[in-house]
């Protein structure tokens, strides 16, 4: 197996056993980037020199017997994470030459854990999008079939992991931006509980919904990664002091006797192939000892409407600082989607409309939160498909924003409720990946990893990669 296709777990072991060095591991990823990025467009910036320098340092530390959780592991960061001294664009022309003077908290944590950052990945500009096409640096392509989208907005991050350009990548999930691309590229995507991981230094999209997560090849890697990134941050007032458990600990415990709910609203109107794939996943979960229970989340249908009021409102305020006075280019450089959201949000927050839109949306948001709270009285976790449709072709939805917005129909409610969601591969439809998501109560990441790991070890879809190993 090529080094760049290893899981973090295996790579850590190999580094420890001196089977290869971090420089070799990082070089393998950089080679893959050099070979594939021209087609896939997954990276906006590749940090070749810096990465090799960091890898060299990691090798010294490994020789010293230092034991850091990600020492020498090549990872990629979505280009919406501030990286000190490295251009951070949010895939928008507005920031095409902006170099942050500071690291996002998550970036510092990853660096302190010994991770090597190979580059900054492409995304839908400002994280506005579900397909990866809305980038001022060009669309990202799905390595499973380059005619198809990889899903967005964390498109480049998902592609970097599935194609072996990095062993893991950071992402953000405001309405599904990690889970959707993970499911379209056969990898694992975690959207943690709101506040579980610090947002400091990540260019804000919609502050009350933004969650900082990551992509990995396996659930075990995802747990390992969260061990590094989770926790209270004195620079983010929305991170509670909730204890961070060792997320790896309960992975082997299995799911025998767990009650897993299937919300009927989540399977109404989904494509038949998706439904069939989901049914076989349920069978597997049942076989593994889980009790599958039909439940209802009655306010699900309002999710997209609520989301498309709250999210643009916050976007309109968060993008106000990009006036081109102190840094970046001026407002003329904003793309159409950002302009659309700024206008929508400005409208719904205006005097005379606030009560009818924003305030009402906040009330419905509370109902959606209550839906989940009620459900978790009956079940331990919830399972559903990630996308209501199979992955679509590049260009198919770009001229129909509403259709594009609806691709998040199964993921947004999780963001509105602030609960965690874990997207895990569930097979292939006509050679293209599909995924399912596990949702749990706030701060139940440990449980979700346990379910995901058990499912994954049984199905082993993760062993399939778009390129030969």
């Amino acid at each position: 197996m090529k080094l760049n296709n290893l899981t973090i777990k295996k790579a850590m072991q190999g580094l420890k056993d001196r089977q290869y060095s971090s420089v070799e591991l990082v070089t393998a990823c950089l080679d893959q980037i050099r070979m594939r990025n021209q087609n896939l467009n997954a990276f906006i910036t590749v940090c070749e020199d810096k990465a090799l320098e960091q890898a060299k340092q990691a090798d010294v530390l490994i020789k010293d017997g230092q034991d850091l959780p990600l020492l020498g592991i090549p990872i990629a960061a979505k280009d919406i994470f501030s990286t000190k001294g490295v251009k951070t664009t949010a895939a928008s022309k507005v920031l095409d030459s902006y170099i942050p003077p500071y690291d996002a908290t998550v970036i510092s944590k990853l660096k302190n854990a010994g991770a090597v950052i190979v580059g900054k990945t492409n995304l839908d500009a400002w994280a506005h999008g579900s397909s990866g096409e809305n980038s001022d640096f060009g669309a990202v392509k799905n390595p499973w079939n380059e005619e198809y989208v990889p899903g967005g907005s964390s498109s480049g991050s998902a592609v970097s992991v599935t194609s072996g350009m990095a062993l893991a990548a950071t992402g953000t999930d405001t309405g599904g931006s990690i889970r959707l691309p993970a499911s379209f590229t056969n990898i694992v995507g975690l959207k943690p509980t709101y506040g579980r991981v610090s947002r400091y230094g990540i260019i804000a999209m919609a502050s009350s919904l933004d969650c900082v997560g990551h992509f990995t090849k396996t659930v075990e890697d995802s747990a390992l990664f969260l061990n590094v990134t989770a926790g209270k941050d004195s620079f983010d007032a929305t991170t509670p002091p909730e204890i961070v458990p060792d997320y790896l600990k309960s992975l082997p415990n299995g799911i025998n006797g767990l009650r897993i709910g299937v919300p009927k609203e989540y399977i109404e109107g989904i494509e038949p192939e998706i439904f069939n794939n989901f049914k076989s996943s349920l069978k597997i979960l049942g076989k593994l000892g889980a009790e599958i229970i039909n439940i209802s989340l009655p306010n699900t249908e309002y999710g997209i409407a609520v989301y498309y009021i709250i999210q643009p409102a916050e976007v309109s305020s968060n993008l106000a600082r990009f006036d081109g006075i102190r840094y970046g280019n001026d407002r003329a450089s904003f793309g159409n989607e950002a302009k659309r959201r700024i206008m929508l949000g400005t409208f719904t927050l205006s005097v005379g409309y606030y009560d009818a839109y924003y305030k009402k949306a906040m009330k419905v948001r509370t109902l959606i939160i209550q839906d989940f709270e009620n459900a978790y009285k009956k079940v331990d976790a919830i399972v559903s498909p990630v996308s209501p449709t199979v992955v679509w072709k590049i260009g198919e939805k770009v001229n129909d924003p509403l259709k594009m917005y609806l691709s998040d129909v199964l993921t947004v409610n999780c963001n509105l409720a602030g609960i965690p969601g874990l997207s895990v591969p569930s097979g292939f439809i006509q050679g293209l990946p599909v995924g399912i998501q596990f949702l749990g109560p706030k701060f139940s990441e440990e449980l979700l990893f346990r379910i995901g790991h058990t499912f994954e070890q049984e199905t082993r879809f993760f062993e399939k990669t778009p390129y030969e190993l």
Binding site: F81, S82, T88, A90, L95, Y98, P100, P101, Y102, A104, R199, Y200, G201, I202, I203, A204, A206, S207, S208, S234, F235, D236, A237, T238, A313, E314, S316, S317, L319, A320, R321, F322, D323, I325, R326, Y327, T346, L349, S350, V351, Y354, Y358
Partner: protein, 439 residues
């Protein structure tokens, strides 16, 4: 046709901004001592509004805001939140100001000044902006002030004259200084005043006029009085012509000694307020508010009453002493140090009349000084009389002016006598002898 208006009423409400003297800024760790510092030397990603930066509220500032509210007899709701006030201005780094809209920290208080009661609508917390300067065709922004904690105190439109406004502002300044939460130095911009002034032609109506004029750029109590009086006169002249003054923002112009129009408000600004998602709402317990209340020191009004009673001081003396809490504390310490050897009244007189610099003389030393000053040397009465006679002889003017009723001339004679003697003797004896000789 100009007609003389008889039945009018002036209506004034005030918005006052007070900068808190916390060590660090409202939402980041930068220091707040920006005054006179090199531009942009007190900044970080948060107060510069860089992409990705987040605000973390300063607990101290919030507690001080609540204490200001408590000192102004406000209700403290157990639930409060921050909101975003969205507007564009180059000195506003985020494109919005973090402020409080419908659920501020303090609501519905009042302040009592010389028997009159003025309503306090609300007291809320927000952040200061950067500062723009325009030089040689270009504009410069200094973000040192960006994010400094500001408390805004809004009154009801309960004032009808400039004197009451000034008295209120002085009282407010005194209170925040007593609380130790702000130096409220107007020249340094630590206290900023914005009166809203309008005039109704129906003094019995409770309905406010359809317009109001906000006056900015006032940096002293003297100017606030002048600005209000100027506005009243200006608005009355317009009303006398049968017109309605424009709803606008005017600025005090020191050189013109009047207000000048800055911005005419066609309609109200739409700030698109919404709850600040980066800061969780604040939930207090009654106990926490109780503790904050208990930490409030004795305020000027209570101290004044106590000083009058406890030290048998006149209201006049007590008022001067409590004007500044450090002076009041100094006085109390001196009374303690005197252990009865000098009366509080004597101490008060000494501090007030000699304009004692309390930073330079310790209270104990002050008592010694008073005792020394009180000590007089003995002098032979005949010797003294001879000197008095000599002074009157050498200065015939004294006798002449005294006969013309200018009794003050005696002071001059006393001075001359004291000068010749060069001893500390009882002035009253000298005065008595001079009067005897003059008659």
């Amino acid at each position: 046709m100009k007609k003389r208006l008889m039945n009018y009423k002036v209506i004034i409400g005030l918005e006052v901004h007070v900068e808190l003297k916390t060590q660090s800024k409202m939402f980041c760790g930068c220091l707040t001592d920006y005054f006179g510092q090199k531009p942009n030397s007190h900044t970080c990603p948060v107060c510069l509004g860089l992409p990705g930066a987040l605000p973390v509220p300063n607990q101290q500032a919030i507690e001080w805001c609540v204490q200001i509210g408590l000192a102004l007899n406000c209700q403290i709701p157990l639930f409060a939140k921050f909101d975003r006030k969205n507007y564009f201005y180059p000195d506003l780094s985020k494109g919005y100001q973090i402020s409080q809209y419908d659920e501020p920290f303090c609501l519905g208080g009042h302040i009592q000044i010389k028997g009159k009661k003025f309503g306090i609508t609300r007291v809320h917390m927000e952040e200061d902006t950067g500062k723009l300067t325009h030089e040689g065709g270009s504009s410069l922004i200094d973000f040192n002030r960006s994010g400094v904690p500001l408390v805004e105190i809004v009154t009801e439109p309960d004032f009808d004259n400039a004197k009451d406004v000034k008295a209120y502002l002085q009282k407010l300044q005194q209170i925040v200084r007593y609380l130790g939460v702000s130096d409220a130095d107007m020249e340094k911009g630590q206290m900023r005043l914005e009166p809203n002034i309008s005039i109704t032609l129906n003094s019995n109506s409770k309905i406010l006029p359809k317009y109001k004029v906000e006056v900015k750029n006032i940096n002293s109590f003297g100017f606030v009085e002048k600005a209000i009086d100027f506005e009243i006169k200006r608005q009355l002249e317009i009303l006398e012509k049968g017109d309605t003054p424009k709803q606008e923002t005017r600025g005090w112009d020191e050189e013109k000694n009047g207000t000048v129009s800055q911005r005419v408000k066609e309609e109200a600004n739409d700030y698109r307020y919404f709850p600040e998602p980066d800061i969780p709402p604040i939930r207090w317990t009654a106990k926490q508010i109780e503790i904050l209340k208990s930490q409030i020191p004795e305020l000027p009004d209570e101290k004044l009453t106590r000083f009058e009673k406890e030290f048998s001081l006149s209201m006049y003396d007590a008022e001067i002493l409590v004007k500044d809490d450090q002076q009041a504390n100094y006085f109390e310490q001196a009374v303690k140090d005197a252990s009865g050897k000098v009366t509080p009244k004597q101490i008060a007189n000494y501090i007030i009349n000699k304009k004692i610099s309390i930073d330079e003389i310790l209270p104990a030393k002050l008592i010694e000084d008073i005792l020394t000053a009180n000590k007089t040397e003995e002098i032979n009465i005949n010797e003294l009389r001879a000197i008095v006679q000599k002074v009157l002889q050498d200065n015939p003017k004294v006798t002449a002016e005294f006969k013309n009723g200018k009794e003050n001339v005696i002071q001059f004679a006393i001075g001359q006598v004291m000068y010749i003697i060069k001893k500390k003797i009882d002035v009253n004896i000298v005065r008595k002898l001079i009067l005897e000789e003059l008659k």
